[in-house]
């Protein structure tokens, strides 16, 4: 089921926006609009996000990704197009209706945390529930539970200024989770954090997602981050340049813009055994060591080195799919040879 759908969505800032949209619809690139005073932030976005999916929007600053996420909860009004949440179109809602939607269906995590400095961790986490007018006892219980869930137990009575950046963002995450909405919007949520803390937070998010199954729209400018956490990734530059899984984007970048990003990505973490395997052929595979098809390449190194034979890739019913050789691994980590190579592979993602 789709939790969120976006249909030919446009956002153009400035006077004469409508006209600019008409121009953009006919395929004019945003740098070549006749009216130089308008800024086209979001151009012709179309996608649906399934319930329980992590959908990452990736782009550089100025690519319209922040504008996009703010349109999804009505903080920014689209110039054209429509947004559907749970089968309800945002454009048809009154101001009150939008507020109710934000209370009950969509919550948000902010880049710079956006916590209230004079409120304790617990009071900050309870913000959404307070706005929903949840009774105090229930509110406190729920907030406490969420604080524990994000690993901040014992910090409830501290003020945000007494916490580190990572801990503050956990408060931001807990605040969004406590509101108990199906959709979670995360606007560069981890971008302001140190690399190590960022990775920790990514892992925690993936971990939480296993049990919570929220629908998450995650904005980032870091493709590594996008590929770590995203089920699907949309690469934006005004328009959506490419939309696909991490593997699809890595193996078949749509154009030079995307290829430039993928050059910096740690391929061994994204590509799986299945993506790099070669056909078994007629070889006797019974003595080969077995690996699951979704194991990342980075976890195959040890086994490949210690084993005489190639590794046998199997699916979840232990049926053989192909073999992984050291040569295949090295080849998969080299982007240049990849485009031609990938086409010959029998099966990708």
């Amino acid at each position: 089921m789709s939790a969120l759908a976006v249909d030919s969505l446009y956002k153009v800032f400035g006077k004469g926006a409508r006209q600019a949209v008409a121009e953009l619809e006919s395929g004019v690139p945003r740098e070549e609009l006749t009216n130089k005073k308008v800024t086209a932030a979001v151009i012709d976005h179309n996608f649906t996000i399934a319930s329980g999916e992590i959908f990452v929007v990736m782009g550089l600053s100025g690519s319209g990704k922040s504008t996009l996420i703010r349109m999804l909860n009505g903080l920014v009004e689209p110039t054209a197009g429509s947004i559907w949440i749970d089968g309800v179109e945002l454009g048809g809602l009154s101001k009150k209706g939008i507020r109710e939607l934000r209370r009950d269906k969509v919550s948000m995590v902010f880049q710079h945390f956006a916590l209230l400095p004079h409120r304790t961790v617990l009071e900050n986490v309870a913000l959404g529930l307070e706005i929903k007018k949840t009774p105090t006892a229930e509110r406190t219980a729920k907030a406490l539970e969420t604080v524990e869930m994000v690993g901040l137990a014992g910090q409830e009575d501290k003020l945000p200024s007494q916490l580190s950046g990572g801990m503050r963002q956990r408060v931001g995450l807990a605040r969004a989770l406590a509101a108990d909405t199906e959709i979670l919007l995360m606007d560069e949520a981890f971008s302001a954090l140190d690399p190590l803390i960022r990775q920790e937070m990514q892992d925690q998010l993936i971990d939480l997602q296993k049990t919570l199954r929220k629908t998450i729209v995650f904005i980032t400018h870091d493709l590594n981050e996008a590929m770590r956490i995203g089920d699907r990734i949309a690469i934006c530059d005004g328009r959506i340049v490419q939309l696909g899984t991490a593997e699809e984007i890595l193996l078949h970048p749509a154009d030079d813009y995307v290829a430039e990003f993928t050059a910096d990505v740690d391929r061994s973490r994204v590509l799986t055994a299945e993506a790099v395997m070669e056909p078994c052929g007629s070889a006797d595979t019974s003595s080969f060591e077995q690996v699951e098809s979704d194991t990342p390449v980075s976890e195959l190194y040890g086994q490949v080195l210690s084993s005489e034979d190639p590794l046998l890739v199997v699916d979840d019913r232990s049926d053989p799919l192909g073999v992984v050789t050291p040569r295949a691994i090295i080849k998969s980590l080299t982007p240049e040879t990849d485009a031609s190579e990938a086409d010959q592979e029998p099966q990708q993602a």
């Binding site: 903080l75 507020r99 109710e100 939607l101 956006a114 400095p117 004079h118 945000p160 007494q162």
Partner: protein, 299 residues
């Protein structure tokens, strides 16, 4: 050449113009107000005088010795025991001068004027922060209020209200209100956009965002504005004294008239100690707002 231009402008621009009418318009307006709206003005006068005399009587009800201890206690509670000692000593000196009663009258006048100015300034500041047109209108109006010499509007105010405490308070309110409005607007506009967005993103209503998010975050700035309001109100005491406002102002005015240096200086000292008390207590209160406390914890 210059002479020629001077003649030209005189002959063709200034001479044909009629007399400048702005002043006459103002004069007409004041006379009209005085005849047609006298009920309103006497109502305002009764209102202001009632609270002023009520407060002045209350301040003079206890003997000065007890009041000195009370002032010191307030300063201690608002900031520190050190300030309590300083204020206690200052107020003792004020009690030592023959102007204790005048000082209490002046305090009452400053408090009433500042309270009314605040009650007007905060809503106007809120409106200006939310609405660009309101902001564009209030800004020049505030400039006008602050820069028009006080004596100029004292005259029409006296015409409307007669001699006494009221015109002094009205002039004080007009003069001391602008920083209250300005700093309220500034404080509210300075609130982190993302925090306001967070309120919106969780479905808070505009009223809730204003009262529960923006106001608490802007409060330290607003308090700084109120401090200025009080200080400006205090700076108007002499001018209020000139139109029969009583208090220290009229003591200073009479000292000026008779060249009594000693009297003027004593009354002046009382104004200074009153200012120290009000300023430091307000600062102490500003440091106690939740946001200021949280910021202090971070250091």
């Amino acid at each position: 050449m210059i002479e020629y231009l001077r003649d030209w402008f005189w002959t063709y621009v200034w001479k044909p113009l009629p007399d400048m009418p702005f002043g006459d318009w103002m004069d007409g307006l004041i006379r009209w107000l005085r005849t047609e709206w006298s009920a309103l003005f006497s109502g305002i006068e009764t209102f202001l005088e009632t609270i002023y005399f009520g407060l002045a009587d209350a301040l003079l009800w206890l003997p000065s010795g007890l009041m000195i201890i009370l002032f010191a206690g307030i300063a201690w509670a608002a900031k520190s025991w050190k300030l309590g000692v300083v204020v206690g000593a200052g107020m003792f000196i004020v009690g030592w001068t023959p102007y204790w009663d005048s000082t209490m009258e002046t305090l009452a006048m400053v408090v009433v004027s500042a309270l009314i100015a605040t009650a007007l300034a905060i809503p106007i500041g809120i409106l200006a922060s939310e609405n660009r047109i309101a902001s564009a209108v209030t800004r020049p109006a505030l400039d006008f209020m602050q820069t028009l010499p006080a004596f100029v509007y004292l005259l029409p105010v006296v015409m409307l209200f007669g001699i006494g405490e009221t015109p002094g308070m009205i002039a004080t309110i007009v003069f001391c209100m602008p920083p209250g409005v300005r700093l309220t607007e500034l404080g509210l506009r300075q609130v982190d956009r993302e925090v306001v967005e967070a309120g919106q993103a969780f479905g808070a209503s505009p009223a809730r965002i204003l009262l529960r998010i923006k106001m608490p975050l802007a409060l330290p700035t607003i308090m700084a504005g109120l401090n200025q309001v009080i200080m400006l109100a205090l700076s108007m005491v002499v001018i209020a004294g000139m139109v029969g406002g009583g208090g220290l102002g009229s003591q200073i005015v009479s000292a000026l008239g008779r060249v009594e240096i000693a009297k003027g200086f004593n009354a002046g000292i009382a104004v200074v100690f009153l200012a120290v008390f009000l300023d430091r207590v307000m600062q102490g209160l500003a440091d106690r707002t939740p946001v200021a406390r949280a910021a202090a914890l971070a250091r």
